[in-house]
């Protein structure tokens, strides 16, 4: 019997996020399809070159909000596994800040839940991204 705890893998980490790790983890389920969302640090924002990014998190609440999102997804869709991994600290262009993997017997549920997870994460998880340029820095989305 799989419990909701075994299905959910939440990580907020300063280490590199790896798709390969998720592949192994997903492979353990009797899945049909998995939908994975991978964020990547973009090299341009509004024509200014980004040198690197700093991600700051209110860690205990960020983890708890990520877990809530995963649990809500499991309640709303028939899922087998949900992983939500997020980086904190210094990220270079091309690094992966976020990785969400959702597996389900049917791909409708996997796509819908994966989309819900990233959309909700971007609204509610207390993580902040600062872009550092050659000539300054800026907290992303802080101002209208």
């Amino acid at each position: 019997m799989t419990t909701i705890q075994q299905q959910i893998d939440i990580r907020l980490t300063a280490s590199t996020l790896q798709l390969a790790a998720v592949q192994t983890w997903l492979g353990e389920a009797g899945v049909g399809g998995s939908c994975v969302f991978v964020g990547t640090v973009r090299n341009r924002t509004r024509e200014k070159a980004v040198r690197y990014l700093e991600f700051e998190a209110y860690i205990p609440m960020a983890e708890s909000e990520m877990r809530k999102i995963a649990e809500q997804s499991c309640q709303r869709w028939p899922l087998q596994k949900v992983a939500i991994h997020h980086r904190v600290g210094h990220l270079e262009i091309g690094d992966i800040p976020v990785l969400i993997a959702v597996s389900a017997a049917h791909r409708d549920a996997a796509f819908a839940a994966c989309r819900y997870c990233i959309d909700t994460l971007k609204e509610s998880v207390p993580i902040w991204k600062k872009e550092v340029f050659e000539d300054g820095e800026e907290w992303v989305a802080a101002h209208p």
Partner: protein
């Protein structure tokens, strides 16, 4: 800031992201009239630090949960200031 008015409750503010830049502190003790709500606290913060007016939003959390503007603040609360999030 020099606070000379009489207050009867102290809370701790914890600030992240641009809110930390505005307060220029991660942690700050803050005095409030007993029975104040989160809305009252935000009004006081906006009055003291007009840079908060420029933000898209400002939410607060207590005990790792978002709280609404009508939530009543308790003596000794740790209130986390949450400017617009930008994870992902």
């Amino acid at each position: 800031m020099i606070c000379v008015c009489l207050q009867d409750m102290e809370v701790t503010l914890i600030a992240f992201g641009i809110a930390r830049d505005i307060l220029q502190e991660r942690k700050l003790n803050w005095e409030l009239v007993s029975g104040s709500t989160i809305g009252d606290l935000k009004a006081a913060l906006h009055a003291t630090y007009p840079d908060f007016d420029k933000l898209r939003s400002l939410r607060c959390a207590v005990n790792e949960e978002y709280v609404s503007d009508t939530h009543t603040v308790q003596e000794g609360d740790e209130i986390v200031l949450i400017p617009p999030v930008s994870g992902g």
